[in-house]
Symmetry: C2
Subunit: 414 residues, 2 copies
């Protein structure tokens, strides 16, 4: 019998109980012993649940129970999750978590503590929900050099963008619908500002390239400025707008990492990832492009990924899984201003023609796009191969000419 | 130092050498010891290769070398691959193979021998080339009930169909182009008749549901009868034609398994899998639909999957990977005639209208499709919810009415 404790009885926590209960037979077969929940930590009371006697409000009770060898952390947030997880690892308990904020902020430290104590710290559920991604990347890495990862990592923003693209709903209405359907929080900023996607690309980058990247060192843009006019121009250009988290290993050993909306060609595998789904492209030198697609969130998908990690822990009490990265290094993240990009720009002036003429003078080689539903005074164009610093400088020049830049969206090459 | 032997120095075999040579550092780090090839078995001579001294024509030399703990079989074909692999497993050597014919025909037996000898028999490269699929399914299974798998499992036929759909090339020309580009063999029957896809869906079905399914018990159709007219009707219907291998667990514990061309809706993730790429959808009760996409063949993708298995073997000399299925059971594969299907039918008679009128009398509820480039005397229609046996009977009735059935293509629900 393997005893575990679950910290947090929210959506994912109750899902973990459901999965363990409904799949007991196959889980026992896989783990080669029965997995039993001994404690559930939550500050709330759940008197009506059949397993209400398992609840405790006292973390020390779990920490000091020598029966408990594996702790599942599904509370979310940085504190007290971090403090609890650290204490568990320092006291001989392996930890499984779905908490991307925790892994993105403290992954290197917690992996080191786990290694020092010969324990496992697993987090398959922290990226991509039920999509197996952490293990396959780890597996791909074995005989393959990963060169780039790019993904639609946040289901909420993808749902909003899909509604804008498919049903010409504007951003505000699509967000309201997402909130109504429970896909977005009342305060949606973690999703729509790109912070959630940022945490996930940090985890994938750290795993794939072996060095921790912290969210605060990643250039992050959300989708709040995107309008139906941008969706129209993207369509004319030949693609769709997606919120992409991406990381690329540069030849000088630095990584280029960012989260921003991007124009993705219609033929790309990522272009057809719609609604709340996630899609993650892993580019390797031997495998080429491999794409993983599925529901990136939700109670049961996430819970089943957590439980799969628990089973792995039970099977590997003595043999640690190879999952490790070093702490951050200075100058590891490439200077954002120096990176080259192709970009779509939407401007407004006295007339569309005047605005484009001014833009063309500043962006030589700009190619104008003709919107299907043009807005008076506006023009859209694409331009290639300028650095982010050049782009910022040219934007400033345009504003001096009384041409306002309404939006700037980068163009992906996958 | 872990010594291995490689049986076969064809495309995949030479790729294994290339991957081991070009990724030595990361492989050693992952495997925690250096992996060295001690013997290569091939009947041909390769005097000019830098590692020509490793070649042998004598399998016994490998079998009797106690240093060799892992044997890589990349010869392909059933004999002598089966005999060699069996001998290796019976003599204390773990085996890694990319040979789908071997695994589909002898998987249950070889897994049993491996288990009895506490050895590993791994075959990630046998399905999906460089796409991680065997391990993720195995992982998905842990805390999730897989209910259905459907995939584009053969790159050659997918290339041909893509050319037919995108460039209106006919089947013969597209096949000739595939042969010219090296995607298809001079004798293309294993690909175009669906045999290759059949072996792969057998492997996935055996793995996902724990009972071996042999290729000969699978209803298998190829793509040789598909014409540009069918492609046109599929487009009008709202999708594309793909060669799909699928298996579904039925409520009575039987599996419905088949390989056949299918109409796939444009919105499906599988519809956008083009050219030589593969895409595999795994439907689970907790995860929902997860799709894996990438290059399903090719020297380096396949070789990197083989090497990843070798690394896993080295890391698990004493701990077997959980990978097992029982031998076939009678009545496990559902009677094909009893299975319900939706289907598209193309018929020809004196006139298109007359042919459809006759068809409608026999297939009540048939919905006619109007081709963009109609062929004189032809009609296309779709009809839902009839069994395969009913479909066959109704086809016979139609022929009696002097209406010829030109093609019948099933309609997928994913």
């Amino acid at each position: 019998m393997a005893y575990i404790a679950v910290l947090g009885h929210g959506v994912v926590g109750s899902g973990v109980l459901e999965v363990l209960t409904t799949h007991t037979e196959s889980i026992t077969k896989r783990a080669k012993e029965e997995i039993k929940i001994k404690h559930i930590l939550d500050l709330r009371d759940f008197p009506d649940l059949p397993y209400s006697d398992l609840f405790t409000k006292d973390f020390q009770k779990i920490l000091n129970d020598p029966d408990v060898k594996i702790v599942v952390e599904v509370m979310g947030g940085l504190h007290p999750a971090y403090d609890y997880v650290k204490a568990c690892l320092e006291n001989g308990k392996s930890v499984v978590t779905s908490n991307k904020e925790l892994v993105a902020a403290k992954g290197a430290e917690l992996l080191r503590i786990a290694q020092e104590n010969n324990l496992n710290f697993l987090f398959e559920a922290s990226v991509g929900g039920g999509i197996p991604i952490i293990r396959p990347i780890s597996q791909c890495l074995a005989a393959n050099e990963v060169t780039e990862i790019a993904g639609i990592l946040n289901g909420t923003t993808n749902f909003i963008l899909t509604k804008m693209i498919r049903e010409q709903m504007n951003f505000e209405d699509a967000l309201a619908l997402a909130q109504q359907l429970g896909y977005a929080e009342r305060d949606p900023s973690a999703d729509v500002e790109g912070f959630d996607a940022c945490r996930k690309i940090c985890i994938l980058a750290s795993l794939a390239f072996g060095t921790h990247v912290y969210p605060q060192s990643v250039h992050t843009e959300g989708i709040t400025k995107i309008t139906l006019q941008d969706v129209d121009y993207a369509d004319v250009w030949g693609g769709v707008i997606k919120l992409i988290g991406s990381v690329k290993m540069l030849e000088n050993g630095q990584v280029h990492i960012m989260v921003c909306p991007m124009l993705v060609h219609r033929g790309s595998q990522l272009a057809s990832v719609d609604d709340v789904f996630n899609g993650i492209m892993v580019r390797g030198d031997a495998t080429g492009d491999v794409v993983f697609y599925g529901k990136g969130a939700g109670k049961l998908p996430t819970a089943s990924a957590v439980v799969a990690d628990v089973i792995d822990c039970v099977k590997h009490f003595k043999a640690r899984k190879y999952l490790f990265w070093e702490d951050a290094k200075p100058d590891y993240v490439a200077d954002f201003g120096a990176v080259e990009t192709d970009v779509y720009v939407r401007v407004t002036g006295e007339t569309g023609d005047a605005a484009f003429a001014a833009a063309e003078a500043i962006f030589p080689g700009a190619k104008r796009l003709l919107a299907k539903n043009p807005q008076a005074g506006e023009a859209g164009f694409v331009v290639s191969g300028l650095t982010e610093a050049e782009l910022a400088a040219k934007r400033a020049l345009l504003e001096k000419d009384n041409v306002q830049v309404l939006n700037c969206i980068r163009i992906s090459d996958y």
